[in-house]
C-alpha cells in the first residue's frame, strides 16, 4: 500500500484501492485544509468519498468538481487527483487560488462511479455505466449521466437497459447519483458545478436536454471562451465550446442540467483530450499535461464565480 502521497505516481493510472489509500494519506498530510467526507455508498456498497478543501467558515459558497462518472474515462480520475494535489501545492502561492479559498470551499469527488471503475480493472476496461441490477432486467448498469431529474427519460437517453445510455428506472434511482443530489441539496450553497468526462476536447454548459438557451447563456459562452483560451495556452490543445445540445447532441437526465435547474448558474461539463488517436485509452504519459491544461480552465471558471457572487 502507498505509504505517503510523495511516493504516489501522479503520472500513472491507479486502481480503486490505490486511489482510496491515496485519499487517506492526502487528507492526513494536509489536514489543515483538506478533509474527507463520506457521502454515501454505491450499488455494490462501496464507500463514496468527497474531498473538501476549506480554510474555515460555515457553508461557504462552494465549487463542486466530479470525475469518473463514466468509469472507463480513466484520464478523468487521474486529472482529479492531480488537481487535488495542485490545490494544496499552490495554496498561499497562487494569489487567485488563495483568494478563491478565502471565500469559497472546493469539493472534489474523484471516483463518482466506484463499482464501474473497479470493474474496469477487474473485468472490462471499457465499462461505462454503474453496476446496478434489478429483478427482471437482464442487463447490468445505468448510465449515471442520464439518471438525473432534469429532462429525465427524454431524447438522448435510452430506456433499453442494455443500452450504454440507459437512463435507469426513475430519476436518481442510482445511489451514486442520489448521494450527490442529497449532499449538494443539503449543503445549499454551491455556486459552481464541473463534471469532468473524456473524450473529445469540449467545454460545454446547459442545456443538454433542450435546444433552448439558458438565461445567462451569453455569460456562460464568454466564460467558456476564456476557460478554453486558458487551457489552450498551456499545451496548445484546442477545445470547442458551447451548450451541450448545440455543440454535441441532445442528452437528457444529465448532471449539469440538474445542477443548473437547482440554481447553480456556473455548470460545466468537460470532455478532456484524446489528441485524436486514443479515445478512452489515453496513455499515462499524457496524464500530467492533460491535468495541467484542465486546471487552468477550472481556475478560470472558479475565479469568475469568485468575482461574480450571486
Amino acid at each position: 500500500r502507498e505509504r505517503s502521497t510523495n511516493s504516489f505516481s501522479y503520472s500513472s493510472y491507479h486502481t480503486l484501492e490505490e486511489i482510496y489509500s491515496w485519499i487517506d494519506n492526502f487528507v492526513t498530510e494536509h489536514s489543515d485544509i483538506v478533509s474527507k467526507i463520506h457521502i454515501g455508498n454505491s450499488f455494490e456498497n462501496r464507500s463514496i468519498f468527497v474531498l473538501k478543501f476549506s480554510t474555515g467558515g460555515f457553508q461557504r459558497p462552494a465549487v463542486w468538481i466530479d470525475t469518473g462518472i463514466h468509469s472507463r474515462e480513466w484520464i478523468t480520475h487521474a486529472t482529479g487527483i492531480w488537481i487535488a494535489k495542485k490545490i494544496v501545492s499552490v495554496h498561499g502561492k497562487d494569489l487567485i487560488l488563495t483568494d478563491i479559498l478565502k471565500a469559497m470551499d472546493i469539493f472534489i469527488e474523484i471516483v463518482t462511479n466506484p463499482d464501474g471503475f473497479a470493474f474496469t480493472h477487474s473485468m472490462n476496461r471499457l465499462w461505462r455505466k454503474n453496476k446496478s441490477s434489478r429483478p427482471g432486467i437482464f442487463c447490468i448498469g445505468v448510465d449515471l449521466n442520464r439518471n438525473w431529474k432534469s429532462g429525465f427519460g427524454g431524447n438522448g437517453s435510452n430506456k433499453n437497459p442494455c443500452s450504454e445510455t440507459y437512463h435507469g428506472p426513475w430519476p436518481q434511482s442510482e445511489p451514486e447519483v442520489a448521494a450527490i443530489v442529497k449532499f449538494i441539496t443539503h449543503h445549499g450553497n454551491f455556486k459552481v458545478l464541473i463534471s469532468i468526462h473524456s473524450y473529445s476536447q469540449m467545454l460545454m454548459y446547459p442545456y443538454g436536454h433542450s435546444l433552448d438557451p439558458v438565461s445567462n447563456y451569453e455569460e456562460l459562452y464568454d466564460l467558456a471562451k476564456d476557460a478554453v483560451k486558458a487551457l489552450y495556452e498551456v499545451h496548445g490543445i484546442k477545445y470547442i465550446f458551447g451548450s451541450i445540445s448545440t455543440t454535441l447532441y441532445v442528452a437528457s437526465g444529465i448532471t449539469v442540467d440538474w445542477a443548473y435547474d437547482t440554481g447553480i448558474k456556473y455548470a460545466f461539463s468537460f470532455e478532456l483530450r484524446d489528441t485524436g488517436h486514443y479515445g478512452f485509452l489515453l496513455p499515462a504519459s499524457q496524464i500530467i499535461p492533460t491535468a495541467q491544461e484542465t486546471w487552468m480552465a477550472i481556475r478560470t471558471i472558479m475565479e469568475h464565480a469568485l468575482n461574480h457572487p450571486y
Partner: protein, 93 residues
C-alpha cells in the same frame, strides 16, 4: 479481464444527417456489438466506434456499401490495453 484482441476503433466522418442516421441504425443492427465511443452527433464531428474483431468485416462492408468514409483510429485495442497494464505495473514497482 475481457480480451479485446483484434477489436478496432473506426473513425467515421458522416457527410450529412442521412449518413448519421445510417450510423445510428448500425446500433440497432448490431445490438451490444458496436460500442460508440463518440456517438453520431452532427456532421462536423467524427463518430468513433469500437467494433469487435468478429464483426469487423460486416461493419466495414456496411460502411462501404453506404459510402461512409472511415479510418482506423485504433488498430488493435488489446495492444493499447497491454501497454497500459504494463505501465501501471511498472509504476507500481
Amino acid at each position: 479481464q475481457m480480451n479485446f484482441t483484434g477489436d478496432q476503433v473506426l473513425r467515421v466522418l458522416a457527410k450529412d444527417e442521412k449518413q448519421l442516421s445510417l450510423l445510428r441504425d448500425l446500433e440497432g443492427l448490431k445490438p451490444q456489438k458496436v460500442d460508440f465511443w463518440r456517438g453520431p452527433a452532427r456532421p462536423s464531428l467524427p463518430v468513433d466506434m469500437r467494433v469487435p474483431f468478429s464483426e469487423l468485416n460486416d461493419v466495414k462492408a456496411y460502411l462501404e456499401a453506404h459510402g461512409l468514409a472511415y479510418s482506423i483510429m485504433i488498430k488493435d485495442i488489446q495492444v493499447l490495453l497491454n501497454e497500459e497494464r504494463e505501465a501501471m505495473a511498472k509504476s507500481r514497482r
